[in-house]
């Protein structure tokens, strides 16, 4: 069968020609056949996500060509690229990336409106997609009212919005429990087998490979092995990969550690939080720079300069004022994360220790920019929620619930929107450094 996607000698560097230059893809040549179900599999930093971004025209590669149906996408104008991204590919994200202020129905309809489909028609089509994903009853709800599994199904419905022939899934199971992860895998399989769509998934988890037909193993920006899976070899292949992951030694163990690095998760949350409404490539570039700042590879001044620079010059192109605010915010997050790390360590050593002063500091930071009035009762309830979350007694979903719950039911009594915003802000500094619970490393 004809390849739908061809990569020829593709090399991609981030920050090329600068001291922080990283070569993320090294001379990649592959053909992806129409109707294939492909996985890019490998440890963190191996280039697998960059591969998705190169194929979807989000990251511009410096060398080589990417052909979609024989057309070189590096030759597309910005307008053509926009249409390609809106109608040619559907992207499913690990973090769902739904627009919080839109209902489920409008989230799914949005990509259709972008290409000129009328509001009536896009609502009709969005409802069909919600029905297909068993989400009809949630059409008028907001994303924060849904569980993670439901939100990811909305993410899939949105990816299908303009009926694209290619579906790209970037670690789609990363934030799901096993039941919901299984459901998502079923849908991806159906989109491949029933609809005939080409599926490309990025994953570092062997068990998510169960339905794929071709596995590209990646390491350090290279493809190290290509496996064409037949049903016979599938079981062997997955158990082989699982064993590798379970009993990994030496360098692979190091990479697994890196995969769970809390800073990179937080950078992702932060990028989506601060750059809401910006394009994917801008958010992606910003996330990369935040990671560099977290790792102290660049200082605050360099970070500021980079995010202020135009996108074409390697920056994010933020306006001066916005860049100033973002830098200030990021430095606060870095400071708060250091404090939280200290608090968590002291709680781990001595669980009954009082963290009252620290909680107050965090609360003040959380409420910066909050315009509503809070009574002393509400402040006490808020402090309790922060404390319970730091001690990992409650999950982030429960934080939103408690912040929203009225004070006579022992909640804080904030609006849904405020509850969600405060919770997101809190997670930015907590992600990955919470006190460990017995038998459960992370909350719900």
């Amino acid at each position: 069968m004809e390849p739908i996607i061809k990569l020829k000698n593709v090399s991609l560097w981030y920050e090329k020609g600068k001291p922080i230059e990283v070569q993320a893809l090294k001379n990649i040549t592959i053909d992806i056949t129409k109707g294939d179900y492909v996985a890019f599999f490998g440890p963190s930093g191996c280039g697998k996500t960059t591969m998705l971004y190169a194929i979807s025209g989000i990251d511009r590669f410096q060398e080589g060509t990417v052909l979609i149906n024989d057309r070189d996408i590096s030759m597309l104008t910005n307008q053509e690229l926009a249409i390609f991204r809106q109608t040619g590919i559907g992207i499913v994200f690990q973090q769902f990336n739904l627009v919080p202020s839109l209902t489920v129905l409008k989230n799914v309809a949005l990509p259709m409106l972008f290409v000129g489909i009328s509001s009536e028609k896009s609502d009709i089509e969005a409802r069909k997609l919600l029905e297909r994903l068993n989400l009809t009853e949630y059409a008028d709800r907001y994303p924060f009212e849904l569980s993670g599994g439901q939100q990811q199904r909305v993410g899939i419905a949105r990816a299908l919005a303009n009926d694209p022939p290619i579906i790209i899934a970037d670690e789609p199971l990363g934030n799901l429990d096993s039941v919901n992860a299984k459901k998502v895998l079923e849908f991806l399989k159906e989109l491949n087998e029933k609809d005939g769509r080409t599926i490309i998934m990025v994953t570092h988890e062997a068990w998510s490979l169960r339905d794929v037909k071709t596995i590209y193993h990646m390491k350090d920006g290279n493809i190290t092995e290509v496996e064409h899976i037949t049903p016979k070899t599938l079981a062997d292949s997955i158990s082989g990969h699982l064993n590798k992951q379970l009993f990994s030694v030496g360098s692979e163990k190091e990479e697994k550690k890196e995969e769970k690095k809390p800073e990179s998760i937080s950078a992702h949350l932060l990028a989506n939080f601060l750059l809401r409404g910006y394009s994917m490539d801008e958010i992606n570039r910003f996330e990369f720079l935040v990671n560099e700042r977290f790792d102290d590879k660049i200082n605050s001044k360099e970070f500021h300069q980079l995010i202020n620079k135009p996108y074409k010059d390697g920056g994010v192109g933020l306006w001066k004022k916005k860049a100033e605010r973002v830098v200030e915010y990021l430095e606060e997050v870095i400071d708060q994360r250091k404090d939280i790390g200290d608090i968590c360590r002291s709680i781990e050593n001595k669980p009954e220790v009082s963290i009252f002063d620290e909680i107050q500091g965090i609360r003040k930071w959380l409420l910066e920019g909050y315009t509503g009035e809070l009574s002393s009762d509400k402040i006490m309830a808020l402090d309790q929620v922060i404390s319970d979350r730091i001690r990992n007694f409650i999950s982030k979903e429960q934080v939103v619930e408690l912040l929203d719950l009225s004070t006579n039911k022992f909640g804080v009594g904030l609006s849904f929107r405020a509850a969600q915003t405060l919770s997101e802000k809190l997670e930015l500094i907590l992600e990955g450094i919470l006190v460990k619970k017995e038998n459960d490393s992370v909350g719900k």
Partner: protein, 147 residues
């Protein structure tokens, strides 16, 4: 179908640049570049030249009966009348009458649809009411090029 040689020629008459790109690219995105050669013009005058020339003559025309630049100039009825006149000219010309003409426009008025159907058009599509794949499938259907 043999690559390139037997590609059906489609002519889009629409002066909206984004619409031109969108229309052309959905055929590419849905893997129809081997089936169709898509040409685009912004006026009836340019279209007429292409239609008259045997080498460039299209198999099908997708026509916006009221283009955006004409909306600004007022008197939309005049521009719609000119579009209908263009259709009539083609459909009444023995040499050209086999060309499929599909109205692809934002105009939803029933009287317009009826008038155009009377002139022998081959389809009436309303912009914003078809998904990208539906446009491709409609085109496949009228050319018998179903995948």
């Amino acid at each position: 179908m043999d690559k390139n040689k037997n590609r059906r020629k489609i002519l889009l008459i629409d002066d909206d640049e984004m619409m031109q790109i969108y229309f052309r690219d959905i055929f590419w995105i849905h893997g129809r570049n081997d089936f169709y050669e898509i040409n685009m013009v912004s006026s009836l005058a340019e279209a007429e030249k292409i239609v008259r020339d045997v080498k460039t003559r299209p198999d099908s025309i997708f026509l916006d009966v009221l283009m955006s630049s004409n909306k600004k100039g007022g008197a939309p009825a005049y521009h719609i009348a000119r579009s209908l006149e263009f259709i009539s000219k083609i459909k009444n010309d023995k040499e050209l009458s086999k060309i499929n003409i599909i109205i692809y426009s934002g105009q939803k008025e029933q009287y317009l649809k009826e008038a155009a159907l009377e002139l022998g058009i081959d389809g009436y599509l309303i912009k914003g009411e078809l998904m990208p794949r539906e446009i491709v499938e409609f085109t496949d259907k009228i050319h018998g090029t179903n995948n």
